[in-house]
Symmetry: C2
């Protein structure tokens, strides 16, 4: 279907140059040297309107938006709807069992000439945020956004939950529209926007939404506004993303906490047992020892290898920034490692540490694991292999809290709970549409963009690819060091300003060339 | 010093039979068959005064007493002082930098005959309690004591923090005094009482208190009222206790939480590393693999081995009660294992689990470890061996939060913090004083008492042994399944009633026989 849609579009494109048409519609601009002129117009507008843009972002970040707090998200939806309607978007709230998805459409500028159809671009972002532990936020509470630094300094940062992930990109896109409009520069695409209320909990309802609103959401390409730019700071085009599946392992000890003096040496310690299990899963260099873990990985194409080779090396500066003496991966670069699946202990707990510590043998120990997946490795296969590994260590795997009988029958018992997971995507770099997108980015910026075959983070690109038959891309704008998913999330202002210019250029994307 | 004091006491005992003197002072009782009569008098008194005794305990347990909350402990001290003074104790609060120790002395009943000195018995208990996490208490909040069951049922239990550990024993001892007094039965000993406000945090000031008040506290024997009876439920005499030293290990990952999608596979995971370290410390059967861990252990004497062999086997019933399919220890009994040092992960944490979970590479991971020590294994040696083990795993050991330079210089860095610890004690079973104590217990009860060379739990017996040169014993009364140190701490009423009878008999302990 993607292929068909793309071909009909390309045919249209051949008949009349959309680029010419669009630029002609802009009136006074010369189609030949316009890119620089338009870019400057947008840049000037942004410079003149920084306070207003920032103010709009601060107001949005002030609204608490932890995914599971439905009432809070409804407040966000109402606010976003009003922001969109002010720009002339036609907005629909796509209701779900919990919080609504926001769909918005901006009709293309009326073009007097030709019947050429503007490509339909569906932009995806999410308006929910990760949970917060306010006690650990050091700059400002998570929903009291605070600008640290001079507003004229591109290195100043706005702190607050979702400043980067994804409220910043949403505000940038709307500002791009304002800037184009102020400059009398019409977009070359028909813009559709889908704002997800549940991305941070794995978008459990997105499949149903895509299924139900397939026609409404139909598009020629999908652009994700989520995620950070490459660590080099260069503008970044993303062609896919890692998938994820999470697994919670719980090992049980005595049925209740026991005094470690009276029972230590005799009562099996679940934290100790969990440690043994985790230790069995990876070697000292971080290579996963679960059998078959890397078997299904789709190797990178030559073009993808070239793209990776062209990326500025950041390992050394990241290593210093994060205080890491020796990264995992036996010397491979970060980008090479991102194109391999990973197994990460994202959280671990047994009884108490610190002030609450008690001298007990804990009753249980839990590890939260995420496995990041790459193209071709399914969530199901990854979980099955992990469970097979647990069995190989002598463990009996159960789904539910073990019964008294199970505890007494099996010395080594592990409770495994896993999510459905999200597969990875990887759109080829070498297609006309990919080229057109890269061109739009190049027109907006002076740095050579980084082309990332796989973004490390997981966004639900796969769902769109499957449900809408649309090629997926990502055009992130936020700084990589934004503390996404952690305390002190922030957005670097320079990234916001450049993001607006980038999105403005995206909205004037050239038509894809005929496929060679 | 102990030996000297004991000998002078024994000489006195030879000159005139203290037992005869004491019993004569009681007047109407026949020295020959009095034990049974006295026991019955105490039992009858207890039966008639259950409600009053319970009421006194409930009031005491209602007072919050978490060790670090000094103001709360002062309230406890005032209340205890009044309870003691009501019984004619001479009370002194031994002030410290934080909360006071309570010293109390009950002068022996005036004896008309002979100059024979009554043995001085120092009884130790503590009035502080372990920290509480009220959300995890299922029967009643920790300081709202609640009786579950019929007050006439010995299996009914009073729930609340310190119901067993140690407020129950304190109330039992005072009730024993009331019962003896009501029956006109004078104690055979001069009773001194020391109540510790900081036992649950390792009694950091007890050494200073013992040093400063050495004369005030001088005694012929020390009896700890702390700890539970043996799991068989039989009355128990304890001849020593395990020591303890705690160690906190923290392994550092990236200097801040990183997105597991963007950095998983590359950023070393501290939870994974900690798991490797912990796994290296013990084998699958719980044997500690730290080199030299068992080297200093003083072997059990023949008499101690006999005592252990005579203890009713409880492993199988405990195994069922605690839902354990296979205990650690490769088939050794619980009592054998208690006489070996242990290494226990009492708590473990890295980032978040459950509702707060986040898809990050955590910045650090911490394990709280307690090592229980037995006679001859010093805290210092145990910690040094553990650190040597860490170094053998390739780790650099630091004391403080590592600096940025240290992080960048050492791929494997572990922060180790340890307490001073408490050594173990083990008074020989085969001394005249030990025999006298065992006799007092046998007179109070019908079951053959369990003689425990080493109590699993740690009480500061070692400090007293060293500072006062006094042989140390324990005469616990509370049920073993009291959830000590955990939520839902409780005291079985049957243990309280029997404990009063036991303590009454202890206060009428026979004179030690001449050493053979």
């Amino acid at each position: 279907m993607t292929q068909r849609r793309l071909r009909s579009l390309s045919v249209t494109v051949l008949l009349v140059s959309i680029a010419a048409t669009v630029l002609a519609a802009a009136g006074e601009h010369d189609p030949g040297g316009d890119d620089a002129v338009h870019r400057k117009a947008v840049q000037d507008w942004v410079r003149a309107h920084r306070a207003k843009i920032l103010d709009e972002l601060v107001r949005l970040v002030s609204l608490p938006n932890v995914s599971k707090n439905t009432a809070d998200l409804v407040v966000n939806a109402t606010h976003l709807r009003s922001m969109l309607e002010q720009r002339g978007f036609e907005v629909r709230l796509l209701e779900t069992a919990t919080t609504p998805y926001i769909f918005a459409r901006l009709a293309p500028a009326a073009s007097a000439s030709s019947g050429a159809r503007a490509p339909v671009m569906l932009v995806y972002a999410h308006y929910d945020g990760q949970p917060v532990d306010p006690a650990r936020w050091t700059v400002t509470p998570p929903f009291s956004p605070l600008l640290k630094g001079d507003p004229d300094d591109p290195d100043a940062r706005l702190y607050g939950r979702s400043a980067s992930d994804d409220k910043g990109p949403i505000v940038a896109l709307l500002a791009a529209i304002d800037a184009l409009r102020a400059g009398g520069i019409p977009p070359s695409v028909e813009l559709k926007l889908l704002l997800d209320p549940e991305e941070e909990i794995g978008s459990p309802q997105v499949a149903a939404v895509l299924e139900r609103h397939r026609d409404l959401l139909a598009a020629d390409l999908l652009v994700f506004a989520d995620g950070p730019v490459h660590q080099s700071g260069r503008p970044t085009v993303v062609f896919g993303n890692r998938g994820i599946v999470t697994v919670t392992l719980t090992v049980h000890g005595p049925s209740r906490a026991l005094h470690s003096g009276h029972y230590g040496n005799w009562a099996p310690n679940p934290a100790q047992k969990l440690a043994r299990l985790l230790a069995s899963m990876k070697d000292a260099e971080g290579r996963v020892l679960v059998e078959g873990f890397y078997d299904d990985v789709l190797p990178l194409s030559d073009r993808e290898r070239e793209a990776i080779a062209a990326i500025p090396r950041v390992d050394e500066s990241l290593r210093r920034e994060f205080g890491i003496a020796r990264p995992d991966g036996a010397g491979r670069t970060l980008e090479e490692l991102i194109n391999l699946p990973s197994l990460n202990v994202r959280g671990m707990a047994s009884a108490w540490v610190g002030a609450q510590v008690r001298t007990i043998v804990p009753p249980s120990a839990t590890a939260e694991i995420d496995m990041r997946l790459v193209k071709n490795v399914t969530p199901q296969a990854a979980v099955e292999r992990l469970e097979a590994h647990l069995r190989k260590q002598g463990y009996t795997v159960v789904r539910d809290e073990p019964t008294a009988e199970q505890r007494l029958a099996h010395p080594d018992l592990v409770q495994v709970r896993s999510g459905h997971g999200t597969p990875a995507t990887r759109t080829p770099i070498d297609t006309p549409l990919s080229h057109a997108l890269i061109t739009a980015v190049r027109r907006a910026v002076t740095d050579e963009p980084v082309l990332l075959p796989t973004l490390g983070g997981t966004v639900p690109m796969h769902r769109f690819e499957t449900a809408l038959g649309v090629p997926v891309y990502g055009l992130p704008i936020v700084n990589f060091d934004n503390n996404q998913h952690a305390p002190d999330e922030n957005l670097r202002l320079g990234n916001l300003w450049r993001g607006i210019v980038l999105y403005a250029s995206l909205l004037r994307m050239p038509p894809p060339a005929t496929p060679r």
